[in-house]
């Protein structure tokens, strides 16, 4: 199980701290996206980085069309990682769709997590007038799928059939120099459908853990109204408005991202009882 989960999700552990802090990349890219952010946490935390199956250096032979056709498949992988590492009260930092994956994981096993940091989150991308504005019409998301199919970024194989036919052939993965971001029709399309067509508006109301919503400026994917909707409907949530423009503040403005996360964790942290803190007079 340990070997399998580590290999499957390309898990890396860094840092000298005791308290675990998990970084989960958003849709389409791997843990590299955190390169400008995670070093700032290595001193105080045990930093955990991983890739979803089909991205980065994950084990693509573990890909399962049915399992990863639903968000629950990704949630399960995150829970597997927590279980394997025997985590307790980890800080979870998720970008974009990973915010929801983290939330769903925390609903299933709250003991693994202490706080959720959501960067550019959205509970649902499709407009549902009059009461909800997600930013997109169904047709926009369908043409996004078409667009992905006509971009050949980090494809594992020109034909998904070959992969499906032979996922046991791990050489396919080795042929690729770089799968930092991928539009591979098999992995990316399957993940995209799970991400963009899932409505988690019911789940956010069940949240119990304290959470921070980092709302970017001029983010087309998660506009301000979406962040405000989340904040209004997710119990125990805090919202911070960022100066960073776009959907990827951890890449475009890592300093602001680090600052806001640290700030929030300071305000909301439980003092850690260190090991071996005995009475000095003994």
């Amino acid at each position: 199980m340990i070997q399998n989960t580590f290999k499957r999700n390309n898990v890396h552990i860094r840092g000298n701290g005791k308290k675990p802090l998990i970084f989960a990349a958003g849709f389409g890219c791997d843990q590299t996206v955190w390169n400008d952010v995670f070093p700032a946490f290595e001193e105080d935390y045990q930093v955990i980085l991983f890739d979803y199956v089909g991205f980065g250096n994950s084990d693509i032979t573990a890909f399962d069309l049915i399992k990863y056709g639903e968000l629950s498949g990704y949630v399960q992988d995150l829970l597997d990682i927590c279980e394997t590492l025997d985590l307790k009260e980890a800080v979870f930092v998720g970008h974009s769709v990973s915010s929801m994956i983290g939330l769903l994981a925390s609903l299933s096993k709250p003991e693994y997590f202490s706080q959720l940091i959501m960067i550019a989150p959205s509970p649902s991308y499709i407009n549902d007038p009059p009461e909800y504005y997600g930013g997109f019409e169904m047709k926009d998301l369908l043409s996004l799928m078409d667009l992905m199919e006509k971009n050949y970024i980090g494809w594992a194989n020109a034909f998904s059939i070959t992969l499906l036919n032979n996922t046991a052939n791990a050489d396919v993965a080795k042929d690729l120099e770089d799968r930092f971001c991928s539009t591979d029709p098999l992995f990316a399309n399957t993940f995209a459908k799970a991400c963009f067509f899932t409505d988690n508006r019911k789940d956010i109301t069940k949240a119990t853990l304290p959470s921070l919503i980092l709302q970017c400026s001029e983010d087309v994917i998660a506009p301000r109204v979406v962040g405000e909707y989340l904040h209004a409907n997710m119990p125990n949530s805090t919202i911070a408005y960022m100066n960073a423009i776009g959907h990827c503040p951890h890449m475009s403005d890592p300093e602001e991202t680090i600052f806001l996360i640290k700030n929030y964790l300071l305000e909301h942290s439980m003092p850690l009882i260190g090991e071996g803190v005995g009475n000095l007079n003994e």
Binding site: V33, N35, L144, N151, I161, C248
Partner: protein
Amino acid sequence: MNELIENAPCGFITLSSEGEILMINKTLLNWLDYPSSEHFMGNHFNMLLSPSSQIFCQLYLVPLIKVKHTVEEMFLTLHTVMKEEIPILLNASFHDNHQLTCVIFPIRNRSALEDALINARKMTEDAYLEKELALLELERKQQDLLQANLINTKIMRETERDLQIAKKIQETALTKDITNDNIEILSYYRASKSLSGDIFGFYQVTPQKYAIILLDVMGHGISSALITMSLQSMFQKLISREAAPESVLQELDQYLHDLFQNNQDAWHYCTAIYLNIDISTQTIEYINGGHPPAILQEDNGAQHELGATNPPLGTFENILFKSRTLNYERGTRILLYTDGVSEAFELNTLNYLLNESISSPLAQTKEIIQSALENKETIYSKYNNDDQCFILVEL
């Protein structure tokens, strides 16, 4: 801007690290139908993009530029001023002055062909997936079949065991051979399957009177066997009451009619032969209801047939059964049998076998007929599918 770049045969655009448009060439403006670049200055690159391309740039262009500082062959769709879509390829590189330089080529024809290719690939992949699913389904069905087969085998084993037990029960209902100074009665009984449609009984009713009955219910197997068993318990009761042969067969006949009067599907008829032997008066009273004729052989070898006196039981309602009576001398032998026995041989074989062994003990005669039957079976296996039963009497 450099004249060359302004009118170059490609779109040229520079962006700030935030995605703000800094410069845009004439060629691109013309493609997008904008009169001048003033519309764009200070606006975000998203202004040129279709909604899906705006998402795509956030998901892929931003991270790739950030990490790789360059992208090649990115496919996007631009929106003209009239919101018409132009499929394009974009190459971009990031420079130290924190500017993103992009070159753009429309690819209308290539894009249309690519769409067709992608559709063809999708169809192939869908067909492949369907095939895979069908195969999985097939495997599942095969598993189900194997499972069903296992259950079937188990049920068959249980049924076979039950039938063997039923066979034992049926055999225990048969009466034992009788041998004394006045009479000797021997029997042979073999079911075609586990259960037989034949049944017999012989009884010493009084010190002077013996009754012998042999029935053959149409068909064989479980249904016939069940009927033989119910008939058996009936005739045993009737015979022990010293009922006359007519009334015994009358009652059995009525019983069969009652049994099936409301159920034609279950209808069975039955042939029967019934003998009453009185050793004090040396008479035989018999009724034959559609049964193969019994052979009576006198001491001197002369043979007579006790042929049918009535149709089979359960065929016509309210038949009057009428018995016949004949006298016999000591040393007379009688052979009663079911059609499973006579049909295994050529005509008159039984008469011949009986005659041949006239001077042998009755037990040996039985042996001869039995081994002839069992040898026949190996030769004519088609006769192996009926119940066989015969009774030998020596007076």
